[in-house]
């Protein structure tokens, strides 16, 4: 088989368990978690790639890969199924000498050096599959090329009081990184790493091989590869990103990111034109139906849904049913959920295929300053008739 040489290919780390999403990732990898009515989290980095003219993406999967593999399929929804481009799922596999799980982010890439080499790329873009954002990677790669860096790391400005939760890049005025601190107690700057890296492939390959030989390494980009590059005097640049970006690694942040889509001027505008559209695998569903007695206020409703009740400040995903006199408020309803007559759902994330039976009550209401507790149901859960799922409770 002939492989065309590529200027840049992307490697998307999609193997994370996402254990902080609790019941939502019990049987699903985090990148496959539904988002925004008809998307899954992985659609964002994948669509960003396509919109940035990156047409070869290796997707590293490990934890609960079945649904994710099925979702990506041959890459057709993202236009990545042509003869010159691909979306290739890369699970860990048995080798002649040794076989093992991906031990860390760097090890996952190390184990797929063979895949990368086939395209002989100048640059490799490392992405993670658990962030919601739209970004033009082409601009970042152009910056990387222009500055002549060995590695460029995308950073965003975070409030100083939150900086100790992130990997912080301390830079000189020209953007050169001189120090990296993982979750510093006393942060010196507010440039938080977004986990998006552009590497010169030759340099990265060399460091991956060296890192693998170091038995004390955790084989992690943030903890091992970046510090090693800094120690050896390589040129690392910070690339500042100013748009919306959210790590949806927790129940609260997943709920917030969904709510950020709502409103006349949303915090994150999911709509987009030619180069900012988010692509997803689409099912053959009819248009949605909104009944005579329905009320739909400040909400997204995806195709295939039938609404007979009231929906306020919520996301209703594909193929959902909201029955008569049911109320859905401040909630994320994932695909294929049935909310029966008179049921009430507030401040909740309802997992795919869940059935909320007649008269059941999920979650609670909060004032603007009160601390919310999000109720969650896992995939295909059933909340029985006239029962209650308390605020913050999980099923």
């Amino acid at each position: 088989m002939y492989f065309q040489k590529k200027r840049c290919i992307a490697m998307l780390l999609a193997g994370g368990q996402g254990s902080r999403l609790k019941v939502l990732t019990e049987n699903t990898a985090k990148p496959a978690v539904p988002f925004g009515g008809k998307y899954r989290i992985i659609d964002f980095p994948l669509s960003n790639c396509v919109n940035s003219d990156i047409d070869t993406v290796g997707i590293l999967t490990q934890y609960q890969p079945l649904e994710l593999n099925e979702y990506i399929g041959n890459g057709q929804p993202w236009g990545l199924n042509k003869s010159h481009c691909c979306a290739q799922v890369l699970p860990p596999y048995a080798r002649s000498k040794k076989s093992e799980w991906y031990k860390g982010t760097a090890n996952a890439i190390y184990q797929n050096i063979g895949f990368i080499k086939r395209f002989d790329p100048a640059y490799v873009l490392i992405l993670s599959g658990d962030h919601i954002y739209k970004m033009d990677y082409a601009a970042m790669i152009a910056f990387h090329e222009k500055t002549g860096a060995d590695c460029t790391i995308a950073v965003r400005d975070v409030p100083l009081e939150e900086a100790s939760r992130f990997g912080i890049m301390n830079t000189k005025p020209d953007g050169t990184i001189y120090e990296f601190e993982e979750k510093p107690k006393q942060p010196k700057s507010t440039n938080a790493s977004m986990g998006i890296y552009v590497f010169n492939w030759k340099v990265l390959e060399q460091f991956l091989v060296a890192d693998e030989e170091n038995p004390d390494s955790e084989n992690d980009f943030g903890k091992n590869i970046i510090p090693a590059l800094l120690e050896t005097g390589h040129k690392l640049m910070a690339y500042t990103f100013q748009g919306y970006w959210k790590d949806v690694g927790t129940i609260d942040s997943l709920w917030e990111a969904n709510m950020d889509l709502l409103g006349k001027k949303p915090a994150f505008d999911i709509r987009g034109g030619e180069r900012s559209r988010i692509y997803a695998r689409n099912n053959a569903l009819p248009s949605s139906y909104v009944d005579q007695d329905a009320k739909t206020v400040n909400c997204f409703i995806a195709e295939g849904s039938e609404i007979y009740g009231t929906v306020r400040h919520s996301i209703i995903s594909t193929g959902c049913f909201v029955g008569e006199n049911a109320l859905v408020e401040d909630s994320v309803i994932m695909p294929g959920v049935t909310i029966e007559t008179g049921a009430i759902v507030r401040h909740a994330i309802i997992g795919e295929g869940t059935r909320i039976c007649r008269g059941a009550v999920v979650g609670g209401a909060y004032g603007p300053k009160e601390k919310r507790k999000i109720s969650v149901t896992q995939k295909n859960a059933v909340v029985a008739e006239n029962t209650v799922l308390l605020p913050g409770e999980m099923l």
């Binding site: 925004g36 009515g37 008809k38 057709q76 929804p77 006349k264 999911i270 709509r271 559209r277 988010i278 692509y279 997803a280 689409n282 099912n283 053959a284 569903l285 009819p286 248009s287 949605s288 139906y289 909104v290 009944d291 005579q292 007695d293 329905a294 009320k295 739909t296 206020v297 400040n298 909400c299 997204f300 409703i301 995806a302 195709e303 929906v311 996301i315 209703i316 995903s317 594909t318």
Partner: protein, 372 residues
Amino acid sequence: MTAMGIIFANIYDSSLGELTNKRTMASLPYGGRYRQIDFTLSNMVNSGIRHIGIISRFNYQSLMNHIGSGEEWDLELQEGGLEFLTPYSMSHNSSYRGKVEALHSALEALEYSSGEDYVVLADSGVLCNIDLGKVLEAHVASGKDLTVVTKAGIANGTKQLDLAIKLDKGGQIADLAVDYVATSEYLASMALFVISRELLVHHVRECMARNRYRFERDFLMRQFQAGNLSVNVYEFQGVALFNESTEEYFNNNLAIIGKEVRHNLFGGAHPIYTKVRDRVPSYYGEDCHVENCIVADGCVLEGNARHSVLFRQVTIGQGAMVEDSLIMNDTVVGEGCELKCVILDKDVVVRPGTKLIGTPNNPVIVKRGEQI
């Protein structure tokens, strides 16, 4: 038992006036996210038909754009798949006069198909969700030469039917008439036929040799009356919507707001496929009031809508009221507009404050791309 499909894309174009000015009947938008041909194509694919020829005579650019390689219908195949039979790709270099002539131009596709036993012939003016596998089985079991799929309750004493059939008490054909304003005891042909491939090729040749080019009149009725063609009548029990005039098209679109029609067309095990557009879900604003509506993806609804079908990526401005109307893809209804019984074609812009009032029998139609 295998079958190939033939779809006639242009039937009734002229009776839909402005709506088919720049598109075929087959590519007419329907039900929010669909084109009419999606129903015919999906019915065939859902019944295991994997070789489909689409015969079109003009205005087929939008149709080809919609269907592409057929991948949404899983017709992107090594063998069989989808064939566009357009005038210039066939032996004739002018347009055809009737379905028999069209089939004559498509003989190559029929004769050299990969050996299917039967041909299912359909047009895209009648919308339904039908299991063609059952029709094929019934055709074979009947031992007849040709099966015509029919629907009761369409003939009403005012509508002219292409083909009307009356059965006697024993279920035998008592009368078979073409271009006929039939009374309600007649069954209406759904322009859906099954015939063996060999027999079809034979009859098409025989007809054209005598300059007979119309399918229902010159072939079906004539041969049936002469005793050369036995006809099996299959009565379809599901919902069938005949879109043969602007008025029917308008009312049949609004009909899917009703639960029975909607569930009959979309609720079963056989989905209707269409081209994916990757639009975001529809957004309902703070002050909108939407009731009794079909809403496709990508809409931004800040205003009000009642008993209407809103196609993909429609915008309704604050304070506007859309009632009993069809608003097609990418159309913008400005703030404070008042619309009733209106068909806005694609890419229309209605300036704020405009008032447009039609009637159910005579909806106001605004042509594609117009600004009013």
